[in-house]
C-alpha cells in the first residue's frame, strides 16, 4: 500500500463516516474550523481508522497534535508503516 493509497482510503473513510463533502477534504483542512468535527468525533475517527487499516491507535498522545487532514495522513502513514515493519 503506497502513501497515496493510505491518504485516499483515509479520506474516503472519514468522508463516509462524517458525511463530509470530498471537495472539502483538502490537506490543509482543519478538523475543527473547516470540517466541523469536535472532540467526540475525534474518538469516532480513531475507531474508524483502526477498523480501516487494522492499526492500533488507542490513546496515542500524538492524536492531540493532529489539527489538519495532512497531520492525520502523516500519522496514519506512520502507524501503517510501523505495523508493516
Amino acid at each position: 500500500m503506497t502513501d497515496e493509497d493510505i491518504i485516499d482510503r483515509t479520506n474516503a473513510a472519514i468522508a463516509e463516516e462524517f458525511e463530509l463533502d470530498a471537495a472539502d477534504m483538502t490537506p490543509e483542512a482543519s478538523f475543527k474550523d473547516d470540517l466541523g468535527l469536535d472532540s467526540l468525533d475525534a474518538v469516532d475517527m480513531v475507531i474508524v481508522l483502526e477498523q480501516e487499516f487494522g492499526i492500533k491507535i488507542g490513546k496515542d498522545p500524538r492524536i492531540a497534535t493532529i489539527k489538519t487532514l495532512a497531520d492525520l495522513h502523516a500519522f496514519v502513514i506512520d502507524k501503517k508503516r510501523a505495523l508493516e515493519s
Binding site: 468525533d41 474518538v43 469516532d44
Partner: protein, 256 residues
C-alpha cells in the same frame, strides 16, 4: 424537505398573528403562574427543584402544542407514558426553532434537553433551562457531557438530543453526531426516535414568518443498545447509522 416558499397570504397573516400572539400570552401566563405552581409541586408534590421546573416547562410545551393545532393541522402519535422506558434517550430530527416545543407532545415530562449555548441566552427561557438542569453541549467536553448526561439518567431523568446538533438548513436530514448513541451504549438506556415532519415547512431555519404546513410528531419503536454490542468499539456508530436510517425512512413516508 422544506417546501418552496410561496408568497404570503392573508391566511398566513392570521396564522402568524394567532401563533405569536398566543405564544406571547402563554409565556406571560407561565411567568405569572410559575412561582405558585413551583411551590405547589415542591411542597405538595414532593418534587425536587429541577423536577418542578421541568414539569412547568413541559406544561408550557404541551399548551403550545394546543396553540399549534389552532394554526396548522397536527397529527400526534407519541403514545402513552408506559411506552417510554424510564429513563430513555429521545432523539429527534431538527428543522425548526419550534422543534423543542414539540416535545410538549410527549406523554412524559421529566426531560432535559442537550442544547447549545445560544438558547441559554434567550430571555425567560434561559433561567428555566438552567434551573431545569439542561445540558449545554458547547460548554462541556466529550467526557464532561457523558458524565453529566449519565448523572441525569441515573436520577431517572430522560435526555432529549437532536443528533444533528443544529437545525437543518434545507429540511434534509443532516449529519448525526454520536453523543446520544455513545450515551446509550455506556448506560444501556434505550433510544426512542421521534420523527418531526413538516416543521421545516412551518418555520424553516433563519425564518420568522410561519407558513402553512402539515405537522406530524411521531414516536418510533425503542432502539436498544444491546442489539449493537456485537459491533465492538464501533457499536455506537452502528447504532447511530441505524437510527438515522429509521428517521430517514419515516421522513420519506407519504403524508397520511
Amino acid at each position: 424537505m422544506a417546501a418552496a416558499h410561496q408568497p404570503p397570504t392573508c391566511a398566513d397573516g392570521v396564522r402568524n398573528l394567532v401563533h405569536y400572539g398566543g405564544l406571547t400570552l402563554l409565556t406571560l401566563i407561565t411567568i405569572v403562574l410559575s412561582p405558585p405552581l413551583y411551590i405547589i409541586l415542591r411542597r405538595l408534590g414532593g418534587a425536587t427543584s429541577g423536577q418542578a421546573v421541568r414539569r412547568i416547562i413541559w406544561v408550557y410545551g404541551r399548551a403550545w402544542t394546543w396553540l399549534l393545532r389552532l394554526v396548522v393541522p397536527v397529527r400526534i402519535g407519541t403514545g402513552d407514558a408506559a411506552d417510554y422506558p424510564a429513563p430513555c434517550i429521545i432523539v429527534a430530527n431538527h428543522q425548526s426553532f419550534f422543534d423543542a416545543f414539540c416535545m410538549g407532545a410527549l406523554p412524559i415530562y421529566d426531560l432535559v434537553f442537550v442544547v447549545r449555548s445560544w438558547p441559554f441566552r434567550i430571555p425567560f427561557y434561559g433561567p428555566y433551562m438552567r434551573r431545569g438542569e439542561y445540558l449545554n453541549s458547547e460548554h462541556l467536553s466529550c467526557d464532561e457531557f457523558l458524565d453529566q448526561a449519565v448523572q441525569r439518567l441515573n436520577n431517572g431523568i430522560s435526555v432529549i438530543i437532536f443528533p444533528e446538533g443544529t437545525r437543518s438548513p434545507d429540511g434534509q436530514l443532516g449529519r448525526f453526531y454520536s453523543g446520544a448513541f455513545k450515551l446509550s451504549l455506556q448506560t444501556g438506556v434505550p433510544v426512542i426516535p421521534i420523527c418531526l415532519r413538516g416543521m421545516g415547512d412551518f418555520l424553516p431555519r433563519g425564518g420568522v414568518w410561519l407558513r402553512k404546513a402539515s405537522i406530524t410528531i411521531k414516536k418510533m419503536a425503542p432502539v436498544f443498545p444491546a442489539d449493537f454490542k456485537a459491533a465492538g468499539p464501533g457499536a455506537h456508530l452502528a447504532m447511530r447509522k441505524h437510527v438515522k436510517a429509521l428517521l430517514a425512512t419515516a421522513l420519506r413516508e407519504p403524508a397520511e
